[in-house]
Amino acid sequence: MSQAKVPAWVSVGLIPLLNILLAFLVSGLVFLAIGEDPIEAAGYLVYGAFGYDEGIGYTLYYATNLIFTGLAVSVAFKAGLFNIGGEGQAYIGGLGVGLLCLWFDSSLPLLVIAPLAIIGGALFGAAWAYIPAYLQARRGSHIVITTIMFNFIASSLMVYLMVNWLKAEGVMSPISRTFEESAWLPYMHDIFAPFGFDIGDSPLNLAFVLALLCCVFYWALVWHTRWGYQLRTVGTNPTAAQYAGIDNAKVTIWVMLISGGLAGLVGVNEIMGVNHNLLLNFTAGYGFAGIAVALMGRNHPIGIVLAAMLFGALYQGGAELSFEIPTITPEIVVVIQGLVILFSGALENMFKGKIEGLFLRKAAA
């Protein structure tokens, strides 16, 4: 039995960094192939994401969604479940948020609507995750398959609801009426303005704080409660869980409820924080990107925040990049994101063995 261990900074720092670096190197080759200077492009990307107040605001706004979905994927993963349904759960969560805002925006103040909508979004997301969770726990239907399928069902359901029930009168597109301002989650720039800070107008809103609170919730739940103890036992050694008298099926169900609830909170950011009405496709792939975020963040809240910021920066810096260099289309930006996911997610273990071996040999010597 080997007692030697790889230093933590190697496995959580060096290896992910190397993977990202490689992704950027290959991206550089892509830029060269279309005849653009990769250094210049990288400059625009970094400047766009972090170079000025509004850019940072956008980066953090994107990161907010990714923190929610990253935590959602991660908490399920801790229990050994692969929740691919973050997209659908976020979509239905947004529906919950939207419905509550539409019902109460003219009768209740923000201080009441906000917690209601947050709980509502989480409950709707959780309810959407409940069906696959139940099918997995009691019927043995594989959760990867069912959660994927529930993304499509969510998508169709939303189209039906928007077109037939929720569309505002007198508009041609499937969007609801705009909420009264009492159901708008305050923007960060509005919050900071009275104190004399000008942080630039961006969609960044209070949901970012909610996302950070969720990170604390995740950390406390997973490592400091008996429920977290149970879910980690089920995730790492289901036989030991059975021995300990832990009901695997029950754990599966409530972990998926939490996972779906976290994903559902994307709706708070998007619907209540930014769009202020219900609309189609506001989830824009955040549910899927959450898988990469969770993988890259090593299923730890701090890692997830960092990974979410990286992806947020890619979204925002990428948009800036394709604006500054027209030959770099938004599709190329998607290619870069894809490369990051490929190298840090799918090819995560490419260098792992070699580098760990290097350190183990060094430690042994």
Binding site: A220, H224, T225, Y229, R232, Y243, G245
Partner: protein, 517 residues
């Protein structure tokens, strides 16, 4: 193939194999005459399976040579083994369940890109083989629809189809009914008449005596004896198998058994394949005694522990414990049994007793994680857990005494101490303990045995399952022997000797009694 003239179809010389610190095979010599049935018998861990895996190319021997029909051969993988005419029927079948018999037989020997041709040729060949060896089977049947006895026949056909002249069967009757087993032995006889050499690995003496021509006995990695079956008897074989061991000494006084605290009646259990793993097992456990359960592993002991501790539900029967009646329709799960003050040290600490990714102080509360002692209203009381873990590590001499070390990084003995301390310190009324010293170093063994006796002397009831006969004999006050899922005998510790227990474990004690009934 030319007519064999060489007297031995397979010859081993000086085969040795070491896994880390364990010498699994030590300088093994074996000669198997052509066209005979040769039995290899031994306890668990005697090295039988390792030896057969070497012959079949799963492992390469560290030293030694293998000769087939007098020709030395190098067997590096199972394809090499097949090429020299060795076929193997594993204890756990290697069949594709949703394929037909024919498809399974030609798997890996399809013969060309177009399946149809190969299939047609195979169908002809199978017909011939079936007639030659009287192995009738419907070649178009789907394997998962067949009873296990027929599935095994498919495995045999598979080997013969590949031209096997030497057939190795590893514990072939483990999954068979007595009737199916009889049929198997008839098949093996007809194979032998056709010149096939059969090697039969088993721990069942009766089968060896009934069906083999020669028998070799293995013990602790060594080949200790070769006998002509007709010139030996079960007593001699049992003694050879178990050996005269240096008696393990445990200091303990006479037991003072008191009232019965747990009684089980007619417990039955079926595994996922529908095989009956527990056959109407009844037992009584008294306060202040250690009841040992002896048996070759895989004869129902694990299932008994799991059913008693509530991990798996029983199929039928009844357990009386702590004033409760537990039945199949009113089951209790592992957590509920724990609440009734039953503790359980599982046989496999890696698979069941610990979560190896957890830090020691976390693993030290597994099963008791819901207890008030470790929980506030919402958060777990980490400091209380750590403090208790530190105390226990000191009391049980766990090394290194670091509650933050991952359990995977402790040695086997220290891992076991963490598990036993966890269960014993809860002050249970009944302790189920499986393989308490498996993979544990000598020093720790003594310590663990002392703790078990101490618990008994404190008036607790202890059910001990171990495949180490020494351990059973040294610790137990009363011994029950299990064979094939049933209790086949009970002796008090004073009367027990290796020979009697060895015979019982091989189900050769008292003809006509026990599992066959």
């Amino acid at each position: 193939m030319t007519q064999q003239t060489h007297p031995y179809s397979i010859e081993l010389e000086g085969i040795s194999k070491r896994f880390g610190a364990v010498q699994a095979n030590k300088n093994i010599d074996l000669q198997v005459p052509t066209g005979t049935i040769h039995g290899i018998i031994g306890e668990n861990g005697a090295g039988k399976s390792t030896l057969m895996s070497i012959i079949y190319g799963f492992y390469e021997a560290d030293s030694g040579s293998i000769s087939i029909d007098g020709q030395q051969v190098a067997i590096r993988n199972s394809q090499d083994a097949i090429n020299v005419g060795i076929g193997m029927v594993h204890q756990h079948f290697m069949l594709v369940e949703n394929f037909s018999v024919l498809e399974n037989v030609i798997l890996g020997a399809e013969g060309g890109a177009v399946l149809k041709q190969g299939m047609d040729a195979a169908r002809e060949e199978l017909k011939r083989l079936e007639q030659e060896y009287s192995l009738d089977i419907d070649v178009d049947a789907i394997v998962e629809d067949l009873p296990v006895g027929l599935q095994q026949r498919v495995e045999i056909l598979k080997a013969l189809y590949r031209g096997a002249k030497i057939l190795i069967l590893d514990e072939p009757t483990g999954v068979l009914t007595p009737q199916e087993a009889d049929h198997l032995f008839r098949i093996l006889k007809s194979l032998k008449e056709q010149g096939v050499t059969v090697i039969l690995i088993t721990h069942k003496l009766r089968e060896i005596l009934a069906s083999t021509d020669n028998v070799s006995v293995m013990r602790q990695g060594e080949m200790v004896a070769h006998r002509e079956t007709s010139k030996t008897d079960k007593e001699e074989l049992a003694e050879l198998m178990v050996g005269k061991k240096v008696r393990l000494k445990v200091n303990k006084d006479e037991a003072k058994p008191e009232q019965t605290v747990l009684s089980a009646k007619d417990l039955s259990f079926f595994d996922g394949q529908g095989v009956e793993r527990l056959k109407k097992v009844s037992l009584e456990l008294k306060a202040g005694e250690i009841l040992g359960i002896a048996g070759v592993s895989g004869n129902g002991q694990s299932e008994l522990l799991n059913v008693l501790s509530g991990i798996t539900p029983m199929a039928s029967g009844e357990i009386q414990f702590a004033g409760q009646t537990i039945t199949a329709s009113e089951p209790k799960n592992a957590a509920q049994m724990r609440d009734l003050k039953m503790a359980h040290v599982p046989e496999d600490r890696h698979k069941m007793g610990l979560v190896t990714g957890f830090e020691a102080y976390e693993a030290a509360v597994l099963g008791y994680h819901d207890s008030e002692a470790y929980n506030g209203s919402v958060l777990m009381k980490r400091s209380a857990m750590l403090e208790e873990c530190n105390e226990r590590m000191a009391a049980w001499d766990v090394r290194p005494p670091n509650p933050h070390l991952k359990t995977a990084n402790f040695s086997g003995g220290n891992q076991q101490k963490i598990v036993i301390a966890r269960e014993v310190e809860q002050n249970p009324n009944v302790l189920l303990i499986g393989q308490p010293t498996r993979g544990v170093d000598i020093g720790a063994i003594e310590n663990i045995h002392e703790q078990i006796v101490k618990l008994r002397d404190a008036g607790k009831a202890i059910l001990l399952v171990s495949v180490e006969l020494d351990e059973i004999m040294a610790l137990s006050d009363r011994i029950i022997v299990m064979f094939d899922g049933a209790v086949v005998g009970e002796v008090s510790a004073n009367e027990a000797d290796e020979r009697t227990l060895g015979l019982m474990m091989a189900n050769a004690w008292n003809e006509g009694q026990g599992a066959q009934a």
